[in-house]
Each structure stands twice: as C-alpha cells, then as structure tokens.
C-alpha cells in the first residue's frame, strides 16, 4: 500500500514561516519554518519537550505565536482556533480530548460544526431544511465512523471506548470538518503493535482521500513507513528536514535522541542496538499473539 504515492500538482497546503513561541523566559519553539504539500505525509519528530505540541498549538491558533505566521493554501490564518478549523486545518490531541459524555456519533457530529449552518431559529422552529441538514450530517458522520471502523459503536459514550478506539474517534471527529490538512499529535501513543499498524493504514487511507497529513510521532519505525518527509525538532529548533532515511542516519538527530555521545563513542551503534532490541521485543509479542 506504500506504493500508491499519488502526488498530483504539489501545491503548498501549509506554510509556516518563522514561528516562535516564548513562555516567559522559555522559548518552546524557535523560528521554525515548515511547509506541507498536497498529497504529502510529513513527520515531525523530536525528544519529549522539544516543542512539537507547542508548534501544533501555534499552527491551530490555540496559542498565538510570539512571532511568525501560518498560511493555509496561500492565506494567512488568524490565530483563532475556530477560524483555523473553518479554513481547513483539523487536529487531534496528544492527551485525548474527546467529549467524554457524548456518544461516538455526537462527537463526530460536533466535528461537522463548521460545515453546517443551521442556527438556533432553524432548530427551534424546525425550519425547512433543518431535518435534511441533520440527516445529511448524520449520514456523513456515519460514513466517517465506517471509515475508521467505529460504526458499530456509534451509540456508545466516548469515555467508554477502549484507548485505541478513542484515538480513532479523535481522527474521525477531525475528519468531519472536511479538512485539507490533518494534524495528528502522537496518534499511536499507547497502542499495541497491531493497533499501530492499523493506524498506519488509516493514515494512508486519509492521504488517499486527498488530505495532507502532518504527524508527530515517537515511533521511528512508524515514521519511516509512513512519511515522505520528516522534520526534526530539538529544543524548539528545527535541526534537520528531509526524507526519512536521510534524517534517521543524521548524526545530530541521533545525538538529540540518545544524548550527546561520549568521547568517540559512535551514536550509530547504540542506535542500532536499541533498534535490534526493540525489534526482538516486538517479534516476541507478535509470537505470543498467534
């Protein structure tokens, strides 16, 4: 499935220039430039506390960046979350933020808020078109639940879903706003290997719908499989950007992930060791499952 790289006219979807975010004395994001083109899956990696989530918050208007600007398809976005979503950028959250006491279906319906218009009067007087719009929304939402594999649980409360499904629901809810760009903040955190693989498939399917994806992730293998391009954030600064293989073997990236190497100790070997150990661990768990 990785071969279906449909890269049509690659126009720029997201163009962030010089984004800087300071919290008092702490500069969480420093002068980051990043573009995402249509049909692309871009990875954003970096150690904990590197400022990845903060960068997402700057893109989506949850934080007003101290400096820099964010443009979506050529228009500069105001730093207001609802206007950003309206424009076409949707996101998920690292620490799942579903509407816990709403049903799965209702969560997705809320995601459609910007794409529907029925106001209070229309609801109170049940004006013509109200019912039709509601039904259409429901149909669209059910389609998305079908797409993410949650249709059978449409009437469950979001808080009663198992963890992996909560993450899927966050994605379905974000997709409901019919975005041109989807921002995923650690979509596989807390998932087991099978769930992670399912998430990969899902992200490819989203890309094939023509939605560009920018994804934060820790799992290097996941990023390697998925991304056309990877940017690395370390202490708020973007240190490298490029194809996944190139980034993975970059000295600075390894140093950032494993700490500054001891005198002469080659970081690569250690990385390879860790990789091998992880691979082994994974194969044993897989064996158990069968």
């Amino acid at each position: 499935m990785t071969t279906t790289t449909t890269a049509p006219t690659s126009t720029t979807v997201l163009d962030a220039t010089g984004v800087t975010m300071r919290f008092g004395g702490l500069t969480a994001v420093r002068d980051v430039n990043l573009t995402v083109n249509t049909g692309e899956i871009v990875g954003l990696i970096g150690p904990n506390g590197a400022g990845k989530t903060t960068f997402f918050n700057c893109l989506t208007g949850l934080y007003v960046p101290t400096e820099g600007k964010v443009a979506y398809k050529g228009t500069v976005l105001p730093p207001k979350p609802h206007l950003v979503t309206q424009a076409g950028i949707a996101r998920t959250f690292q620490n799942i933020r579903l509407f816990a006491n709403m049903t799965v279906l209702e969560n997705v319906l809320v995601g459609r808020h910007t794409r529907t218009k029925e106001g209070l009067w229309s609801a109170l007087l049940r004006l013509p078109g109200f019912k039709k719009a509601e039904e259409e929304s429901r149909a669209r939402a059910m389609e998305l639940l079908e797409f993410t594999g949650l249709a059978a649980k449409a009437d469950h409360l979001a808080r009663n879903l198992p963890y992996g499904e909560q993450r899927k629901l966050e994605i379905a809810r974000a997709l409901a706003s019919e975005p041109g760009l989807l921002l995923l903040d650690e979509p596989t955190a807390g998932m087991n290997p099978q769930e992670t693989r399912a998430a990969e498939e899902l992200i490819f399917a989203i890309r094939d719908k023509g939605i560009a994806v920018l994804v934060i992730e820790h799992d290097i293998r996941f990023i390697m499989n998925l991304c056309d391009r990877v940017a690395v954030l370390v202490q708020g600064e973007k240190i490298v950007e490029g194809p996944a293989e190139v980034v993975q073997s970059d000295e600075r990236v390894i140093a950032a992930y494993l700490g500054t190497p001891f005198e002469g100790a080659p970081g690569k070997e250690e990385a390879a060791e860790v990789e091998a150990a992880e691979a082994e661990a994974q194969s044993t768990t897989e064996g158990d499952d069968k």
């Binding site: 979350p81 933020r97 709403m102 808020h113 529907t116 209070l120 955190a189 087991n192 499952d289």
Partner: protein, 609 residues
C-alpha cells in the same frame, strides 16, 4: 491483579470473593419470604383498625374499618411490599413487577412501611403525650412492619458483592442488599399497550404529586415523603422505572403529550385555591429552573445570578401592566407584555454576558453572582430618593391587575366542564403553556447543531474551539436564550403574585425562586435533562412549603440534603439521557481504566502524557 482467580486462600473470612452475597440475617429462604409476606399483611390489616383513641391527632385515625391519613400511607406501602414479596414466589401475573431486582425492592418497600408506621406511632405518642395513646391497630401495623423488615433482611441478596470490595463490613452489606441488577431489555408489546402503560405511569405520577400538594398537615407530608422516597427507590430497583423510561424514550411525543395532559388535569383535581396556587408557583419555579438548565446543564456555564432575569421580566411586565403604581402609565395587551419582558431579559442577558463570558469557570460564577445582587440593589434604589423613581424601591410595584386574554379574565373563577377553576388554576394553566414552550425550546435546541456545540463546550472548551466552534458566540447565545426564557416566566409571575418587589429576587432566601434554589433544582433533578429540573423544583418548593415548622433550619437542612445527594447520587435524581446508554454497555460503564489492555500493549504510561 484484575483477574478473578483467588490463588491464595489466606483470608480467614468465611466468604470467597466470587460467592454470592449472604443475607444480613441468616434465615432459610422460605421462612424469610413467609415472614415478609405475613408481616406486610399484618401491617396492612392494622391500618383498618384504630391507631389512637382521639381525633385530636390530625387525620382521624380512630375509625375501625376505614383507614385515613397516615394509615393510608402505611396501607399503600404494605401493599407494595406484599406485591413485591409475592412476585418472588413466582406467582403468575406478578413477574412483571420485578424485571430488575427481586428482593431489594421488598426490603426497600418494607423499610418504607416501617418508616411511616414508626413515624406515625412516634408522632401520636409525642403529640398526645405517651405510648398509652396508641390503640392496638397501631401496634399491629408497627409489629407487622418490623416483621416484614426482618423477613426482607433474610431474603437472598440480588447481586454478588462487587470485585472492589468482596468482603464488605456490616454497613457495606446493608447498602449492598439495597442494590439490584439492571433489568434486561423488555419484549416489544403492541404500541397501544405500551402507550397505555405510559399513560398509566403518568396517571400514577400525577396522583402522587397531587396527593403530596394536597397534604393538609405536616405529619401527613412527612409520612408521604417517607413512603414515596422508599417506594420510588423500590420501584427503581425493581427495574420498573427503567422499563418505563425505555417506553417513554420509544414513544417520546406520546409521553410528552401524556405528561402535559396529566399536568392540565391537576387544577381540576384541586378545589382549594391555595393548592392550585402552590401548583402555579411550582410551575414558575420549574420553568425558570429549566431555563437555567440551558445555561448550566447544556452549555456548562455556572450562573449564580439567574434569578435576576426572572426579575427583569417581572419588572418589565409590571411596568407595562397598567398598575396604578407603575411609573409608566401604559397597559400593554398580554402578548406585548410577554414580548417586552422576554426582550428586556434578553438585552440584560447580552449586556451581562458579553463582558463576562470571556471569563472561564469560577470567574463567571462570581461575576454573575455580583450582577444578580446588583439588579436587586438597583431595583431598591430606583425609588425617587437615591435614584430616579422607576420601581418604587423596596415597596415594589403592587396592584398588578389580572390578565384578560380573549375576554377570559384570569382573575375570576370559571366553571369549566362542571368543575370550578379558581384564579390560581387559571394562572396555573397559563404558566403551563409557558412551561410547554420552554420544554419545547429546550428539547429542540438541545437536539441540534447548536445544542451539541453547547454540550461540547461544557465537556471540553478547548477541544470544542479546535472543532471550529466559536466558543464565545455560542456561550452568549446560551446565556441570552436562558435569560429570555426566564424573562418569559417572569411576565406571568408578576401577575400571579400581584406585585413585584426586589426581595423576591435574591441569591438565597426562604422562598424558592432564588438563584441558589434554582441551581439546586437543576443539580438535584439532573443536569441536562427536562424532567430533572421539573422534579427538583417541585420537591424544593413543596418541602419548605409543607414543613413550615422547620423554616428556621431550612437552609441548613437544604445544605445537608444537597451534600448527601452529591455523595450518593451525583448525577441527580434523573440521569441524563447519555447516562441511560448503559443499555448498550455491559459492565464496562464508568470504568474504562479498569479494562485490561490486550497483552503486549506498550507505552501506557507514555499515553498519559
């Protein structure tokens, strides 16, 4: 550790965690049930005998062969106990009574009988001076009730002990014996049968409610509260309420219509104008509480000054009512007065909401509390002395004339279908129309894009804005809608109470429609529901109105009641529709964390980040 295999049998208690729970009193099952049946039958027979020798105790409990007053309550409770206990024998035709719990309803009903009978015996001896005033009938009922309770405590417990506490102590065991499993989904009946059941359900509800309002002395009301509290819980544990609410959810419009028909019938059952007035006041209180539920229950905005909006509506209506004391000498027709009142509240709501709704949580509560008080103080000061003369200050605007709608003077009694409809009855019906409008507004807005956005804001405002919801605008919309609904109710209230004064619109006071009680009605009844605030308001109005003797301790008792409720039933008396989704979920409700992840799950700790 969540697995259920007790490898080590080191625990020296006699029970194993998976063993079924044991009854509180170890009795053979057959003996326990026989005792319960005999006891409740005895209690029932006792109500036909005299309980005391003099009719100085209210309700005349001296007649043999004709139960009256408190005896009727014991009779009803005993009958309920008997039915539930007999249903446990598997008698044909009674099985439908206990689709959920089998024995906990028996125990609850028996406790209810014991409670009222015991209370009645205590009240008689206290008021007449000693136990000698009790006639044998009281002892028969009392001992019968005690026997029934003992028997019910010996009945098998409905559920095994929970996994969290496999060996509870005595108190835990008693509490556990009052719990029951959920009923299974009912078989589908023909629609007309289901509708008849709904109608019967509301009929019983109306009867109980009207009986409560009509209780003439506080002893009877206390007995009524005891029996209904235990009886209602028993019916709930038996699973009947769940069955009924499943039916009402299925035939929602029919249920709604039945509820309103029942409500319309109420004034026709009351010959006493005073009780109809209580009904009208309950409706005013309940309607405003429902309006507040839009703000608090749906949008999650804690508004502590909500009663001010009722006040704005009432003052606006009073000013244009043609009252001789009104500073504006105009008399609007009722429809125009209603629009004026609602519009004034709306404007007031927007003016207060626009600056404050940008604040979050606690700040909003404090600011609205302040604005509520400012309204009252301003009304006090616009007296011509410390300000322009608009409201007559603390004297308020008295002599508000009665309404006349289509030539129908609401101030006069009318003869409708052979029954006398009093002034309060008229206003009750007018207010009921208002309630219907508010119910409709609540329901329709809740089930729309706007309502979902409100709930989303309540659940997680940040996530809601990230979903494209303009938080400020929608909160303002909820605030303004809530305000206008209160204003609407205020326009009727002004006429019902003849006069408006600033003291009617306090934060906390002894007469119900005040901000604290409104909020309590919403929380006690059940946030985000329609019937919750209505029931909550009815209880909060009736209890202080009927129990005048405890007026001094009213706020204290109110606080204690609220604390107990929050401890034992935080979702309120009526659970949200969303909380009723338990039907879909087997055993995993409320405990998603406890669900063990599949083997090999990684990074759970990381996920918490």
């Amino acid at each position: 550790m969540t697995t259920q295999t007790p490898m080590d049998k080191t625990t020296d208690t006699t029970k194993v965690s998976t063993a079924p729970a044991t009854p509180i009193i170890p009795l053979p099952h057959a003996a326990a049930r026989a005792l319960t049946v005999a006891g409740s039958a005895l209690a029932l027979i006792g109500t036909f005998l005299a309980w005391t020798w003099t009719d100085e105790f209210p309700g005349n409990l001296t007649v043999t062969g004709y139960p009256g007053g408190l005896q009727v309550l014991t009779l009803v409770g005993a009958l309920l106990t008997l039915l539930f206990a007999l249903s446990g024998y598997g008698i044909r035709g009674l099985g439908w009574l206990t689709p959920g719990g089998k024995n906990s309803p028996v125990l609850l009903a028996a406790l209810g009988v014991f409670g009222t009978t015991g209370y009645a015996m205590g009240a008689i001896s206290q008021e007449l001076g000693g136990l000698v005033n009790l006639e044998p009938g009281a002892w028969v009922s009392g001992i019968g009730a005690l026997v029934a309770v003992i028997g019910a405590l010996g009945l098998p417990v409905d559920q095994p002990y929970g996994a969290q506490d496999p060996t509870p102590n005595l108190w835990g065991r008693i509490r556990h014996s009052l719990t029951a499993p959920e009923p299974s989904r009912a078989k589908d009946l023909p629609s007309w049968v289901e509708i008849l059941i709904i109608a019967a359900g509301f009929g019983v509800g109306l009867y109980v409610f009207a009986y409560g309002i009509g209780t003439e002395y506080s002893e009877l009301f206390i007995g009524f509260l005891i029996v209904t509290a235990f009886g209602f819980t028993a019916v709930t544990r038996a699973g009947l309420l769940k069955r009924l609410s499943a039916l009402t959810a299925k035939h929602r419009n029919v249920a709604m219509a039945a509820a309103f028909v029942a409500a319309i019938c109420f004034p026709f059952t009351q010959t006493n104008d005073q009780f109809a007035l209580i009904g009208a006041n309950i409706l005013i209180f309940a309607t405003v509480a429902l309006g507040l539920n839009v703000v608090v229950g749906l949008a999650g905005l804690l508004d502590l000054g909500y009663v001010a909006f009722l006040g704005v509506g009432a003052y606006a209506a009073a000013l244009v009512s043609g009252s001789p004391q009104s500073s504006i000498g105009v008399e609007f027709p009722f429809w125009a007065a209603v629009l004026t009142g609602a519009a004034a509240s709306l404007i007031f709501g927007v003016v207060i909401g626009a600056p404050t709704l940008r604040l979050r949580g606690d700040y909003l509560a404090i600011v609205t509390l302040g604005f509520g008080e400012i309204f009252r103080i301003t009304m006090n000061n616009l007296n011509g002395n410390s300000g322009p003369d608009v409201t007559n200050g603390s004297n308020g605007i008295p002599n508000i004339p009665d309404l006349e709608i289509f030539g129908f003077n609401l101030g006069l009694p009318h003869n409708v279908l052979g029954t006398e409809l009093t002034r309060s009855g008229n206003y009750y019906l007018l207010m009921l129309l208002c309630t219907a409008i508010v119910v409709l507004v609540f329901r329709r807005s809740a089930e729309s894009r706007i309502g979902r956005a409100w709930v989303a804001i309540r659940e997680d405002e940040t996530a809601a804005t990230a979903m494209g919801i303009n938080g400020f605008r929608l909160k303002l919309l909820a605030f303004a809608l809530g305000a206008s609904l209160a204003g609407l109710a205020g326009t009727v209230q002004a006429h019902v109470s003849y006069s408006v004064t600033p003291e009617q619109y306090q934060f906390a006071g002894s007469v119900p429609p005040n901000s604290a009680f409104l909020l309590a009605a919403v929380i006690l009844g059940g946030m985000g529901t329609i019937s919750g605030p209505l029931i909550g308001a009815a209880l909060l109005y009736l209890i202080p109105a009927k129990l005048q003797f405890m007026a001094e301790y009213q706020l204290l008792l109110f606080g204690i009641a609220l604390m107990l409720l929050m401890r034992y039933r935080p979702e309120g008396l009526v659970a949200d529709r969303r909380k009723q989704l338990e039907f879909h979920e087997t055993g995993q409700l409320d405990v998603p964390e406890d669900k063990p992840l599949p083997e090999g799950a990684t990074g759970v700790a990381k996920a918490g980040a």
